[in-house]
Amino acid sequence: MVIRQASAAPAPSQQLDVERVRADFPLLRQTVRGKPLVYLDNAATSQKPQQVVDALQHYYTTENANIHRGVYKLSEESTAAYEGARSKLQRFINAAESREIVFVRGATEAVNLVAHSYGQTALGPGDEILLSQMEHHSNIVPWQLVAEATGAHLRVIPMTDEGELMLEEYDRLLSPQTKLVGVVHVSNSLGTVNPVKRMTELAHDRGIPVLVDGAQAAPHMPIDVQDLDCDFYALSGHKMFGPTGIGVLYGRAELLEAMPPYQGGGEMIRSVCFEKTTYAPLPTKFEAGTPHIAGAVGLGAAVDYLSGLSWEAIYAHEMDLLEYATASLEQIAGLHILGEARNKAAVVSFVLDGIHAHDIGTIVDQEGVAIRTGHHCTQPVMERLGVPATARASFAFYNTREEVDALASAIAKVREVFG
């Protein structure tokens, strides 16, 4: 097997100490059927460092109370922990103000919030919502629902065989009817990193707001929403080493101000009487009911953890894994990698001639290797590439070259079984 050397080794100060970070993730010590777990399904969900687990435990054992309500000390502490997490997330994505950070259940809810609240008011018959061909179903279906309700239509930014969006087509599709652009920052099924800053610029030239689905970007790269200049940015906590059930919608303050509430309930009001209710200011207007306080605290701990690492080091390590995995898997007869964008995150989607992805998944699992198989909630991508399903190895900074080797030899087993 030919092994391509990683290009330009990073300076020692920027080198990621993988063994040290792995030690922070207790789940990675597991064995599966007597073999070390090789967890390569990070695009589905990431594992959690002990620091996040500890933060959850600390919250529940010492700080738990409902927020923004009690006049007692414990409630003040809980509120401080929750709002502290909001500030951490604000800094993490460089939002201008903390009121632009709305806690939601995840990226899916973030998109639904925008589709429902912004879409219902901004869209009418004949209006267009422009989405890319490589969107996750979570950035398609909410728009279909709102299109159905408002008479708007979906238009699609096409992609090339390599899995890159066609920017010229995109430019052509932006029209006076376009009322919103929705685009994924990093494709979950192909790994493509889309030029969202440039795409936002083109949309803004025509006064069109842009929503970026950043669920797959946040675990791999620093996010700066002011630099991207996007209007909405969606995050899922569990994909960025935080707990499940918590995520963030970033929204530009003036847009959020103008949007009606998404859900009604406690917390989100200023005053209620049966004749008229007035709403709380941002971000509370969008956080009806008792939020996932512990989840927010855990997500705060996750971004603290990430802030303690170097993005340059993470990037260098993940690109090494991507190159190494690409080179290793390409050596396997009959294996084809899908998604060959020039700018790609550490995701390798592949098919094997004559063997369905599900069979690959079952067989490599016997070797302790966890990969995702199927359509990855991106059926339009599968349709575009003419495959029913792919197998996908998606990496995080705690993965190693040895794990890539384990994947490659597990795939060799697949060939063995199928003869």
Binding site: G354, I355, H356, A357, H358, D359, T362, I363, Q366, T373, G374, H375, Q379, M382, P388, A389, K413, V417, F418, G419
Partner: protein, 150 residues
Amino acid sequence: MADLRELYQQIILDHNRSPRNFKQVPDASHSAEGTNPLCGDKISVSVKVAGDVIEDVGFQGSGCAISQASASLMTSAVKGKGVEDAERLFEAFHEMVTGPEGSAADRKALGKLAALAGVRQFPARVKCANLPWHTLHAALTGTGEPVSTE
């Protein structure tokens, strides 16, 4: 590897490679579509019933080795059988892949279908084996509704 060998037996690999009755029955009296939304597997089953007998049966579609082999073995097993016999076979098959380990007699009654007994050890794959049968059942009962494993 022991479990894997039991799952991917030679007969299953063979039926996957060269599926039997992979066709649309030209003058079908019954048909139905089935999908597994989890993985995108799709199958269509067409049947020609004369009297109470399945005169011809075929399937088309794409999917993993388990679903393709299951469809192929199923069509071979029910062709020429009475509709009620086919339904009974479906029940027995379903019991084999989801229930506790059956007796040797049970296996014998299932004939070649018993090759799929190994699926029981792989809960995530039971739906793959069952999809063709659910689709056949929908075709025979004539609901005409697409079948989904969810």
